[in-house]
Point group: C2
Chain length 637, copies 2
């Protein structure tokens, strides 16, 4: 292993054209996110490695070193990426000093080095002499550039976090092959390589990778791909990205493409791209995101739906799409410094993303519904999706390794910087270190909205400490060394610009009342219902916690929410409230109106738990959106 | 061509164990159903034949007579059934004397006779020497018995309606092969052959076909099929039918299986089957049917959903499933004589089924949504489904030929008989002839509820004329020769039992006020909305007919429905009403409650059209379920 200079602040690297830059010197030191990272290290990673070995992902590589390779195992040509994403996560772990998975890491890296073809090509599905198709014959479904993309992301992580450039050399050889082959035309059916090529440019300084990334974005929607029986929208290939009216098609493809395009903007400054992405983003947030931050309304084609098409029971909201939305959000934030992107990032992190993993870290959701009906079968739909409760692995196991790598890199998203200022993007116990500043943050967030930041080291002269005020927060208070601070709240930020001394203490208080949210009148699926939230967390009710009435018969009024109180349950905050229970409904499916419905007569108690914690107590009904009484188009007070 | 005695009353044949028997001596003589049949003859059949030729369905057969057959055209191994269903419809047309498609009929029958293998096997996909799989190697997906089923149904129709037994000889040879091969085990991945084998038993008297049909039903759910990555429910193969708690899985498979099982009961008298089917039927009607009668809530796997999972915008409601539900309903009616099955039959016929065909008869819906959003793309999802507006043909073209055959045989469902009585199942201009009785029915149904039945020929002695009272009908009146009749209404029937004379006139009046229907409180997708109906027709509003407000902003109260008035538009009855228009909504997707929504200030006019007529004026928004104001869990009066 050759070593490069380990850069102590290895992590996210400087971007060129954004308003803010990533900050790699953050470490998560406690709290929920730290628990998640520890669970990742102790449970999810070992589980994932075990599954990868059992499923044959490693064998898919090693067999190619034999004279007569055994057949490829698994249905899909992108299974190498399960290894790449795992390596990416391991790069963070190993870079932080945890050597548990060293052996696996070295074994796989060694195999990749040996399996890689002479021209740089790498894909254990297509390198099989018995493969039905040859390399590059099926750009629509082959996922070969998608594979390259995840390889690059792992390679960059290993180089930055470990100072280990073996993967980087493998990845650049493959990337150089792609640069040559795709100089003039061609795109991959599944976006991903765009993001990765920009990172490769950042890591190596070699502009050809950025050029290729930009070309891949620009070529989409210009008729270069064969769609077979799928519509062009599925691949976001029916119109050029800049002309796309709304996010559409396969959700993960859309999110990865948008993140990649944002990365291209961050290095080229092509504002036409950024403006299109802003438009797409705003439209998505206004019309196509679940309250949990999930993206993807359709099991069929794993696709984004029409505006306001957001059914709860059949929300697809793939875990990989949640990660894609966070990747896109972060890049948009870097581009413009706008806190609104971090509001969505946070919403996804604590809800649509976090729900994808079981409490013990070894089972996963692929699709993430917002409702489970009492009669829901344990399995409903093709094995790769449609699962009611979490599973240990999948035939298409893209989500688990994605969780592995995302959990490992959470510290990359705690803070950002610009000249003369540090921006706190996420509240969590953490240390934040830049060349100029060192901070220690303490908080019980997301359970509590008090945040305490102590300056451990400060530069000479004034410096900005910029605190994010989440969109859900009402009146916040800030004190510095106990003194109330009059810094104005502007665009989701409070900026404290002053000369700092070691020991200076900033306290931010974000009130966290229990909130009720309704939905847009065109969102048919959740009409006449409300969802509860507190801080960044969306809550839900499981049948376990509604012993006196079926969750489908709870009628929660806005006043019931006002009167809800919080309680600790294990490490979480749950919400206890009283609600009406609708009488058992008449059986008729489509009764003629007017009805003479009995008014509810019973008051019942129910406990709402964080949505991300649901489904850990066996199959039972669950609702995020609970029925609420109405009056004349307004919710009853 | 050998000829058998043409049975002038050829059509549906006597069943053994049912409470009532099919009546084949009905002819539709006018009105909407006659218009449909004429359109079928003049437009849909020629269009279908043209498409079948262009798509290669005929060539798939003829090429097998060459030494080096050209490749099979099309994606699926069941494309012969598109021919079979067309032949089935043509058998009715030719039997009625319309010779337009004689040439096509004879050509295809001739090809089938020549292509059929020596052992009786017939399937142009698998008989191809270049086929990737051999006959019977893939029972799960091969559809070979499904093909046999549709072949049998065409053969029986040709024998009964035309006195032409050529297809019957082809079908019985293939059926005999199946009897031998599947004597002990094995089932088809797609039910259909069960219904057909029972018909073949009825037609030939050969009990082995009934035995095999019963065996196929009994074997399902006992572990005989390989599911690959699909769950057993998809195939209704996860539990035996008698133990199935609720209709589930692929909707068309479910409906065909249930219809076949009902047919088995109708000949074996096995009540355990009928009781299970009654339970499944009642549960389906109470929890899983769309207001239009459509079955199938999920694009993914074309499947039935959970109870009350009935989204409007993504209703799958496949046209073939509508036909399957009608087939099941009719057999359940024959079994028990219960009018409730005909209520559903009628609901499906005039809504979920009829909507599948364009006004001009040459374009089709595969899936049938109950809502179209303003931003809905012309194509959303894999080509075989998810189409916004009707298409001329499909890669999986199972629905159009199914419409062709169903339209041609509508007269089979006008009436039924039992000893000493005729039951009028459907109201339409028609003549009904049995050995004992001849009736002439006149009506403008479904536009009007007045029905006039004249006795043209009567037996000696008392005879029962049994009139169906649809479930939606309020107070009906019956007169005989002008005199009000006091016959009680019992279980959806009014029975007039008397001695009849030629010239006797019965008048039935079914009032048809405009109705508003709500939905069960657990049906989240339609909460806070109502749907309009009149007689058997479900209505909808298209944006064209709501010029003053987006259809998504109409607020229709129950009183608005009471005040609606009817109007003729072309040949249809439309509903004109006034409603509130909600003010343009605030943009936020999940606004925090309580809201301070403005009350609607505008009254607008809108016209509702029959659902089955929507989508004939180009892409536009449409709603079956329109928003309605609420009060405290009750609809506002």
């Amino acid at each position: 292993m050759t070593s490069k200079q380990v850069r102590p602040l290895a992590g996210a690297v400087r971007t060129s054209k954004g308003a803010v830059r990533p900050l790699s010197g953050a470490r998560i030191t406690g709290g929920l996110l730290h628990d998640w990272q520890r669970r990742n290290r102790r449970a999810t990673i070992p589980h994932t490695i075990e599954q990868l070995r059992a499923a044959g992902n490693v064998a898919n590589l090693s067999r190619l070193l034999e004279d007569a390779p055994a057949p490829y195992r698994g249905r899909y040509p992108f299974l190498d990426t399960d290894l790449y994403k795992t390596l990416e996560g391991l790069a963070y772990e190993l870079g932080d000093g945890d050597t548990s998975a060293r052996e696996f890491f070295d074994e796989v890296v060694g195999l990749l080095e040996r399996v890689q073809a002479g021209d740089g090509y790498l894909n254990s599905f297509f390198q099989d002499p018995a493969a039905a198709k040859k390399p590059w014959e099926d750009l629509t479904w082959g996922h070969e550039l998608y594979n390259l993309g995840h390889l690059i992301q792992a390679a960059v992580a290993a180089n930055r976090r470990m100072g280990d450039d073996r993967l980087l050399r493998v990845a650049t050889r493959f990337a150089d092959l792609a640069v040559e082959r795709f100089a003039e035309r061609g795109i991959c059916g599944h976006p991903e390589v765009e993001m990765a090529l920009v990172e490769l440019f950042r890591e190596t300084g070699e502009r050809r990778y950025l050029t290729l990334a930009a070309a891949f974005v620009d070529r989409r929607g210009t008729g270069q791909m064969e769609h077979s029986i799928f519509p062009g929208e599925y691949f976001q290939d029916h119109v050029p990205l800049r002309e796309l009216p709304s996010v559409t098609g396969h959700a993960v493809r859309m999110a990865y493409l948008a993140a990649g395009a944002a990365d291209v903007f961050l290095e080229t400054g092509d504002r036409s791209l950024f403006e299109a992405l802003e438009r797409l983003w705003d439209d998505m947030v206004a019309t196509k995101l679940y309250v949990t931050g999930g993206l993807g309304s359709r099991h069929s084609d794993e696709a984004i739906g029409d505006r306001y098409e957001l059914p709860s029971e059949r929300a697809y909201s793939e875990t990989c799409a949640a990660i894609g939305v966070m990747q896109w959000a972060w890049r948009m934030f870097l581009a413009g410094g706008d806190a609104k992107y971090l509001d969505v990032f946070e919403r996804v992190l604590y809800n649509a993303y976090a729900v994808g993993l079981s409490a013990d870290g070894t089972a996963f959701f692929y699709d993430n519904p917002l409702q489970r009906r009492p009669d829901h079968a344990q399995r409903s739909g093709a094995e790769a999706g449609g699962e009611a409760l979490r599973r240990a692995w999948f035939t298409c196991p893209c989500c688990p390794p994605n969780i592995v790598r995302w959990m490992a890199q959470l510290a990359d998203y705690v803070a950002a910087e610009r000249d003369g200022a540090v921006l706190i993007a996420a509240y969590t116990p953490a240390t934040i270190r830049t060349a100029e500043l060192e901070l220690a943050m303490e908080t019980a967030y997301p359970w509590d909205g008090d945040v305490r930041i102590v300056v451990e080291r400060a530069p000479d002269g004034p410096y900005g400490l910029v605190l994010r005020v989440p969109g859900w927060a009402g009146n916040v208070t800030v004190t510095v060394n106990g003194e109330p601070c009059q810094a104005p709240r502007s665009g989701g930020w409070i900026t404290l610009h002053r000369a700092w001394s070691p020991g200076d203490e900033v306290r931010l208080t974000l009130p966290m009342p229990v909130r009720a949210h309704g939905s847009h009148p065109h969102l048919d699926a959740t009409r006449g219902a409300l969802s509860l939230a507190r801080g960044p967390l969306v809550y839900c009710v499981e049948q376990h916690d509604s012993p006196q009435a079926p969750v489908d018969d709870l009628l929660v009024g806005a006043h019931d929410v006002v009167n809800a109180h919080t309680e600790r349950r294990d490490a979480a905050v749950v919400l206890r409230l009283e609600a009406d229970a609708a009488p058992p409904p008449a059986a008729e499916l489509y009764p003629e109106l007017p009805l003479h419905e009995a008014l509810p007569e019973t008051r019942v108690a129910a406990t709402f738990v964080p949505y991300f914690l649901w489904g850990n107590r066996g199959p039972q009904a669950m609702r995020v959106w609970v029925r609420t009484p109405w009056t004349n188009g307004k919710k009853a007070s």
